[in-house]
Symmetry: C2
Subunit: 521 residues, 2 copies
């Protein structure tokens, strides 16, 4: 029998990554990364035309180029049976009825580009939608984010009506990539539920943006086959066979089966530049207060998935060590700070930080809030400040975990993944101490791409379901970090003060006024 | 006619400084500095015996050595007509009835040393005295500082009763130095009023520490002759003539006539490691709320003098630039930070600081409070933080100035002096902008020692009074810094937020708990 492979593709913000896995053994055989030709488009379009400061765009043709390069590198001449795709979201674009992007004909028009997830110019439309309210926001804390589908649709409809009228489709980049690969429009419930407030029993909240419903289509559950890769794509890449392509998934969700988070009770933290948290639950009453959104069966079948996050995470630590370096290169810099900070004891520095360097997501959903340091004395040290920043990140995570459990979602498995979970074991050990729980870091390379491959395996019948897919292709083991109960008790004192700062309304008022003052100069 | 000189002596914390001035022309002719042999004694006595952490002592014999060295260097073979002395306070010691320090016989006994002003072990006695209260605290906001005379007396009486019983005198170091020089005990009303709550019409509050009154003596007004320098001292130093020695004065007060602050309406900031402020007033109703103390005719004749201060000032900036250096030596480091910070506009950084790195004196008188930074974002810079720290120092000064005026003391002349006033013109220009007033920096070298020389001149009849002394020996000109009204308006926004932070009681609670937690580890 010929050897068969599966492929997972992870379309991130700056580049795409693919992993080739042996369908039988589950081993990773090859990895390929391709940076987008135009990267993240902000400030001006590729032709030099200026765009507003809060526009963050992408060229969809860059995805197609990455797709081709990666598939050819990984699998030219190999038999591939299934492909799965994870992608940033909400990152929608306008398309014609045949899947061709409007950008092909409108390269001078910013609204024809992919509006990348962090494009923030649609916030005022989001505010208007939230103010209007409605049942469709019940699982989203009553508010819609400016990053999501409905405000981005309203933005285009209002600000580029000509384009809007020409467009027959408004579609997530991940769904659009699947469409390119299979020549079938097959959208994902994961995108639809979390980013467009779709609910299987109700559909889209189509009354919010007149004409939007006609530009969408009903989505399929994750793990469904979207179609097979077209012959054209097979010949273009040298891939043998006609691999089944799964419906796409949000990149932060697609990782779940790769790290073993497939049951209610799992709490997964992806600790990168920012941090994203997913709490899985079998029983669910209402969205825990302060959390951002929840969907049933959308991220994984038959389970509720609640979302939350910290706006700044690794970037805050990187900012500090780069602003006040102890060593010329970043890795050595972090390693010196971590070693010195590990020598200190909790409470010793007398300092406490608020980790709101990128604003606050939980519990306030307010991007204009800011970071804080208190307890500064003559004699405070840079290392003490660094340690306070690390602790504040862990306090922020603990707040999210506590809100989750207080909201009725009980957690029995804390899993940390992504960059910092592997590169900063000092942070992970502080996390265990602050949470007072054992935390796990799965041992796996390229977890997001592997998760996408498992989606492909399920869709293509290589795996019977996500449990089977996890067993065969997911992490085989994990490192565990036990909390030190003495340090946990010391952190209680600091954490209670952290919560006092979070609850300090006058302080929030000061932050607001500082922020708006900074815009006026 | 032979040329005649006057001498001013400034006994500081680490060293003494003397200035020789031409009695006729008023020119400074020579300067001499002598560091104390034992410096500041903390941690252990010179014999190695450990002492508690909050003990800060000095050996009075070091003053005598400095006195001899400086007088010989400045004036051996010259005719000196008057000497004035400024000294740290409250820095008292025990003595026999003939002026000999008890330390001569009790070198192993910490309580026989000078208890330097910043000796803080008597705080609990101060708290007890404040709790008991009394009319004698009316001009001190109802509380006595742990640095002052009464609690330091109680401390010795309770903790070293044998010494206390042997001692016939408890006396400020400045008064003791005058005694050594003249062989006459002639105390100063300046020390007595501000540090021992003496009032001419009432006397000392002798009921607080039984037995203390017998160890004190009634003080004389500043500008009074204490006596003449003894023949023994003249022959020991080579000084010709029998110079009149003035009663001593607090070092921070003695500077006033040197910088031209001799009338009601003057507000003098001595910007050093910490900052001290004196507000002079002709009419006075009650101590402005939050200020620390006031006395009539004590610092200068016929004028009220109100005291206040900022616990951390230059040391906070030095801490920052040394913790996060831009250049290897301190001067270059400051000059780089100042140049870069001057390029920024108010409000631009979005940051705001509280300058409580050494606790807060005004308005809270709470050493356990701490510094704060808010408005931190990814992208904040070290220079932005530095600028926020400079601004916070100016906001702290403005708060003191406003409390002073709100309390009925009107100010028409803001004078800045000491280290930072000369070395950090960026800070002085921010100060003018923040205050929205013209501020003056007198052009004068060794202002404290010159002020002491003016006291000598008045006592010795060289000058008719302090006005005349100021005209002849004080600063001849001053630099002025005009406020920029545009920047002043921008600072209004930040200053109002600064006041919000000052008034934030929950934040103070967080600081208290962080401070006590830091003591527990």
């Amino acid at each position: 029998m010929r050897q068969a492979f599966i492929i997972g593709l992870d379309f991130g913000t700056a580049s795409a990554r693919g992993v080739l896995m042996d369908a039988e053994s589950g081993h990773q055989r090859a990895v390929a990364v391709h940076a987008y030709r135009h990267g993240v488009i902000s400030g001006s379009l590729p032709n030099g035309r200026k765009i507003p400061r809060d526009y963050v765009l992408q060229d969809p043709q860059d995805y197609v180029e990455a797709l081709e390069v990666i598939l050819r590198k990984l699998a030219s001449g190999l038999e591939v049976v299934a492909i799965g795709i994870g992608c940033t979201a909400c990152s929608p674009l306008l398309a014609y009825g045949d899947g061709v992007a409007l950008l092909n004909d409108f390269h001078d028009e910013p609204h024809a580009y992919v509006k990348l997830w962090k494009h923030s110019a649609a916030q005022r439309y989001a505010d208007a939608i939230s103010a209007q309210g409605g049942e469709f926001l019940d699982d989203f804390g009553g508010r819609v984010s400016g990053e999501w589908m409905l405000p981005k649709a309203l933005e285009i409809k209002n600000e580029a009506p000509v384009l809007w009228n020409k467009a027959e489709r408004f579609i997530e980049a991940g769904d659009w990539i699947v469409w390119q690969l299979t020549a079938r429009e097959a959208r994902s419930q994961d995108f639809a539920c979390f980013k467009a407030q779709f609910r299987p029993e109700v559909g889209y909240p189509s009354h919010i943006v007149p004409g939007l419903a006609a530009r969408l289509s009903d989505p399929l559950p994750v793990g469904s086959p979207a179609g097979t890769m077209t012959e054209a794509w097979c010949s273009r890449t040298g891939v043998i066979g006609r691999p089944v392509v799964a419906v796409a998934s949000i990149d932060s969700h697609v990782v779940l089966p790769a790290v073993g988070a497939i049951r209610g009770g799992a709490f997964v933290g992806a600790l990168g530049t920012s941090a994203g948290f997913l709490a899985l639950s079998d029983d669910y009453r209402r969205l825990p207060c302060g959390l951002e959104g929840a969907g049933f069966g959308a991220a994984l079948p038959n389970v509720w998935c609640c979302e939350a996050g910290q706006a700044a995470f690794g970037d805050m630590l990187t900012w500090f060590v780069e602003a006040f370096p102890l060593a010329p290169d970043l890795a050595a810099n972090f390693s010196k700070y971590n070693a010195a900070a590990a020598e200190m004891r909790p409470q010793q520095s007398g300092m406490l930080a608020l980790d709101w360097f990128g604003g606050n997501r939980i519990p306030s959903a307010d991007t204009t809030l800011s970071g804080l340091l208190v307890g500064l004395r003559i004699g405070s040290t840079g290392v003490g400040i660094y340690r306070s920043l690390v602790e504040s990140l862990c306090f922020g995570t603990r707040l999210i975990l506590e809100l989750t459990e207080d909201g009725g979602v009980s957690i029995d498995d804390v899993i940390l993944t992504s960059g910092l979970a592997h590169s900063n074991t000092f942070l992970v050990s502080v996390m265990a101490d602050v949470l007072g729980r054992k935390v796990f870091v799965p041992r796996i390379e390229n977890p997001t791409a592997v998760g996408a491959a498992i989606h492909g395996a399920v869709a293509g019948g290589v795996a019977a379901n996500f449990f089977d897919g996890n067993q065969r292709f997911g992490a085989k083991s994990r490192n565990s970090f036990e909390p030190d109960l003495g340090r946990h008790a010391q952190y209680e004192v600091l954490y209670s003060q952290y919560k006092n700062l979070v609850a300090n309304r006058e302080l929030v008022g000061v932050m607001h006024r500082l922020y708006s003052a900074s815009l006026n100069v």
